[in-house]
Symmetry: C2
Subunit: 295 residues, 2 copies
């Protein structure tokens, strides 16, 4: 496995692969890798001849400098995981080369994908995501790039952006990976103490309870959102950042839920921000729910 | 010479060239080709193995729908000129494929390159330019792209954008080509009647008079701008859109001119917008000036 740092080295490697006719699969990450990322790597291996993982904590997508400062960084462990997973190249570009003095170009998206949920809760976040993904794709020039469905809005935005800008990369969205207790894997989970983690489980539990309510006939979005809010807000130190029902593929808010809808939410658990969502017509989230108590 | 229309065809051609190790030179145009464009093609032929010219009147860079509607379109003539000039591929993408329903992604630039001159006079213009150039480069994937210096601000913006987004394309800026009377070549010149053309010459004449004044010791930008304004505004039906002294490479407005400065102006001649500029330490613009009269 090669570890590349300068942009020119990464570009040269990719160009050589292209001239050989090799297909490149790409998994862009911010490091602190977990089994969710590794599932994306496995998918990339299935779809391409060579796999590149980038590790770059992108400052332009953080609306909160404290969040950027405390974002987990575990490079040695990440490299070991990539080596085990059969990655060909890990690219770890430097911030000073990605955003040199005088940097002034950004990729922005307008419309329904960027006027709700994380786009409102984190101003500038998706501008940073679109910009860095454009840059990473321009250097790596993959045939296919894999994004996790956990970050649903991001995956939809990146897909739209790649199509709009004719970037010529196939975007594959791979399923959310959950721990056995139902919590969606996230690099930020590392910041949870056992007590915080217990409280964090209210998020997938609330989503699952709402999904069951929908399956039981409740289609009023306001009611589904209330189920999540009640489940989450009973925990001290837990705040609900947003919770909304949006319809796919248009990503419109829906007052009345139907099978095309997902219920998406973001919470703060003692200051750590976690997001998750459930397709209302999808499979159950495997959380422990005391059914008798809630009957 | 091949003429390609679908994005997929253009992409496939470029990929095949890349796999053969051929260098691609690219000249993006809006058609209505003239000797200025052909000089860019010649430069591309010197710098690359294969030359692609795109012809696409990009709607997103027009702030004025009337200007878009009346922009000259001369495709048959353009194709003949390209064939004579040794172009390998002319790519004429369709607007409906470049900007499909729901299109929502734009490339934007902030800072000194986009807070003055044409950026103020034509709101959204450079957003459209940055967006379409990103798209064209993503499809053609050239090694080198050639832009004309006549559109100085555009050339500087594109260079900065390509560097910022790591697009991996060398941007070459080729000199302004002028007619024998000194008027900078522009597709819009086709819209000038002989009477309008006579008035349009006040633009290069004003710039040249100001350049001479600077060489004669006048360094106050306000005075240099006045020279252009007086020369231009004496003509009925001619309006000055802007005139400014900016310093390179920072593209800052300069109250006092020095050898790093250019004097740039835009005029409307009976509604037709023309731009031009002169480096104050550069060569003379070959305009007829009655020196006795102005002694």
């Amino acid at each position: 496995m090669e570890v590349l740092v300068p942009i020119a080295d990464m570009r040269q490697w990719s160009r050589a692969q292209l001239q050989r006719g090799a297909r490149i699969g790409f998994v862009p990450t911010m490091g602190a890798l977990h089994a969710g990322h590794l599932s994306l790597v496995q998918r990339a291996r299935q779809l391409a001849d060579r796999v590149v993982v980038s590790i770059f904590v992108n400052p332009t997508q953080f609306d909160n400098q404290q969040d950027l400062a405390t974002y987990p960084r575990t490079l040695d462990e990440d490299l070991a995981l990539c080596r085990q997973a059969g990655v060909d190249v890990v690219w770890t570009p430097e911030t000073a080369e990605m955003y040199p003095d005088g940097y002034c170009t950004f990729v922005e998206m307008y419309g329904p994908l960027t006027d709700k949920l994380c786009a409102i809760a984190r101003p500038g976040h998706f501008r940073g995501v679109c910009t860095v993904v454009t840059k990473l794709l321009a250097v790596v020039r993959p045939d296919v790039a894999i994004f996790g469905q956990k970050d649903l809005q991001q995956a939809l935005i990146v897909s739209r952006m790649v199509a709009d800008l004719n970037l010529g990369v196939e975007i594959v969205v791979a399923p959310t990976v959950r721990d056995r207790d139902g919590l969606a894997l996230s690099s930020r989970n590392r910041r949870l103490t056992p007590a915080m983690r217990a409280k964090a489980l209210a998020l997938p539990r609330g989503l699952e309870l709402a999904r069951r309510a929908y399956r039981g006939g409740e289609t009023e979005s306001r009611k589904l959102i209330e189920i999540v809010a009640e489940e989450v807000l009973v925990n001290e130190g837990v705040d609900l950042d947003y919770c909304d029902v949006v319809s796919l593929p248009g990503f419109q808010e829906a007052e009345r839920a139907d099978d095309r809808c997902v219920l998406a939410a973001a919470v703060f658990v003692d200051g750590v921000r976690l997001i998750d969502h459930v397709p209302l017509a999808g499979e159950a989230i495997p959380v422990a729910i005391d059914d008798d108590e809630r009957a």
